[in-house]
């Protein structure tokens, strides 16, 4: 297998979990799918629509998000926001993430200079 293929596969695996973290962090206030994509891409996190929309549905079915259709605007929009469970899960996940980042930094310490 080519190096690029291996690398992109690994990056995909790494990103899979972090996208959930990003989504939960932003949906404390209601937001529709496409605005979430734009906010994330402004922060340098590119998420494809065909990944995000199915993910939002999955998180909703897990009880982390709730959705409602807003029909007042020019076109109907589906807004998502986190449930109390979603907020709890996000807080725990975030702590876990920060701990992991800290541990990783300690783990490879000065290795960055070597590469």
């Amino acid at each position: 297998m080519e190096k690029e293929d291996v690398l992109s596969g690994l990056i995909l695996e790494l990103r899979r979990g972090t996208i959930v973290l990003c989504v939960l962090s932003q949906l404390k206030k209601p937001m529709y799918g496409y605005s979430l994509i734009q906010i994330l891409s402004q922060s340098g996190i590119a998420v494809e629509a065909n990944t995000l929309y199915p993910l939002l549905r999955r998180l909703e079915s897990q009880g982390l998000l709730q959705s409602s259709w807003e029909t007042g605007e020019s076109k109907p929009r589906k807004y998502y926001r986190t449930t109390p469970l979603g907020n709890e899960v996000f807080t725990s996940l975030r702590k876990h993430w920060e701990k992991t980042v800290q541990s990783m930094n300690e783990l490879w310490g000065d290795d960055q200079d070597e590469s």
Binding site: Y32, G33, Y34, Q38, E48, A49, N50, T51, Y53, P54, R57, R58, W69, K75, P76, R77, K78
Partner: protein
């Protein structure tokens, strides 16, 4: 925003999704595509090309539908069932090939097919079609399990306290013992079904041998199914031994059951005495003469003697397995 290409694209995505989700996903995709077009074209009316670019970005309809499916829905037979599916498929395939080979051999040797190569052709054809049936049946069964999400209960060892203890040395059944058992069962079936005349008494002096088969060949050929069942039961028992690898309650139960049935088969096989070649009994009686009344008596009731030996072996085997299963559990 409605456009024929968008409508067709959404329809193609929804076609592959569960009906109860379709309406919601349809509205969601319309909203998404419209948002993407707005970003791309701002206030301008999107051209056909813009729509194509946006839809290409979303991926092919089947790719997008696949992303909406949960992992479990993607597979015909998924992770919790796949390893069992493989195991069952292996056992079933081996049994089918073995069983069909036995049946083909028997029919060929009993002269029901005109020649050996016709036998070979029918063996190949029957085995192949039986394998396809077995494959289809097992696959459909496991696909049903997957579809209904059938719960087989916790795996052995999922609960740490249910992990079986490491067997002690005497408790382990050697693989070779099981393989030897299977080979003996197969040989028994092959010899009795195809060449019962091989078991023969040799009388006379050098240069003038006379071969007298112990068994009545016609009778043996008539009860071929009893012989085959007897052999199959032996193989079944050895397979359970091989799978368990130690003396367990399950093995004891299977041994009791198969040995009881084997005992009944032996009874049906031997009790009426028809299977012993009358000529053999006569020759033996003549050979030992009237003085050796005990030996003559044994040969005259050779079928009962034979039955006694088999039943004794079955009882001994059952008692041993049950004893060990109780001792080690």
């Amino acid at each position: 925003m409605s456009h024929d290409l968008i409508e067709r694209y959404i329809y193609a995505v929804l076609k592959n999704l569960p009906a109860r989700q379709r309406a919601d996903i349809e509205a969601e995709l319309k909203e998404l595509i419209s948002d993407m077009l707005e970003e791309r074209c701002a206030d301008l009316v999107p051209s056909e090309r813009d729509i194509r670019v946006v839809l290409t970005e979303l991926g092919t309809p089947s790719e997008l539908a696949a992303k909406y499916h949960s992992d479990g829905e993607k597979c015909l037979i998924g992770p919790p069932y796949y390893s069992k599916y493989k195991l069952v498929m292996t056992i079933v395939s081996i049994s089918v090939v073995f069983g069909m080979s036995m049946v083909s051999l028997i029919t060929t040797l009993m002269g029901e097919t005109s020649s050996w190569y016709m036998g070979l052709f029918s063996w190949f054809g029957n085995t192949f079609s039986s394998l396809i049936w077995a494959f289809a049946f097992v696959t459909a069964l496991f696909a049903f399990f997957q579809w209904r999400n059938v719960d087989f209960g916790p795996e052995l060892g999922d609960d740490l306290s249910s992990l079986p203890p490491v067997p002690k040395k005497d408790e382990v059944i050697s693989r070779w013992e099981c393989i030897a058992g299977i080979v003996i069962s197969v040989l028994f079936a092959v010899v009795f079904l195809f060449a019962p005349q091989m078991i023969t008494a040799v009388l006379g002096e050098a240069g003038n041998f006379e071969f007298i088969p112990v068994f009545n060949i016609q009778e043996i050929q008539r009860i071929w199914y009893l012989i085959l069942s007897f052999s199959a039961l032996g193989i079944l028992k050895e397979c359970v031994k091989l799978y368990e690898g130690r003396y367990t309650k399950l093995l004891a139960a299977v041994t009791v059951a198969t040995n009881c049935v084997s005992g009944v088969f032996s009874w049906l096989f031997l009790a009426n005495g028809k299977v012993i070649n009358l000529q053999f009994i006569r020759s033996m009686s003549e050979l030992f003469g009237p003085n050796e009344t005990f030996i003559v008596h044994v040969f005259e009731n050779f079928h009962l003697f034979f039955l006694g030996v088999i039943l004794f072996a079955l009882v001994l085997d059952t008692a041993l397995v049950v004893y060990k299963a109780i001792k080690y559990n």
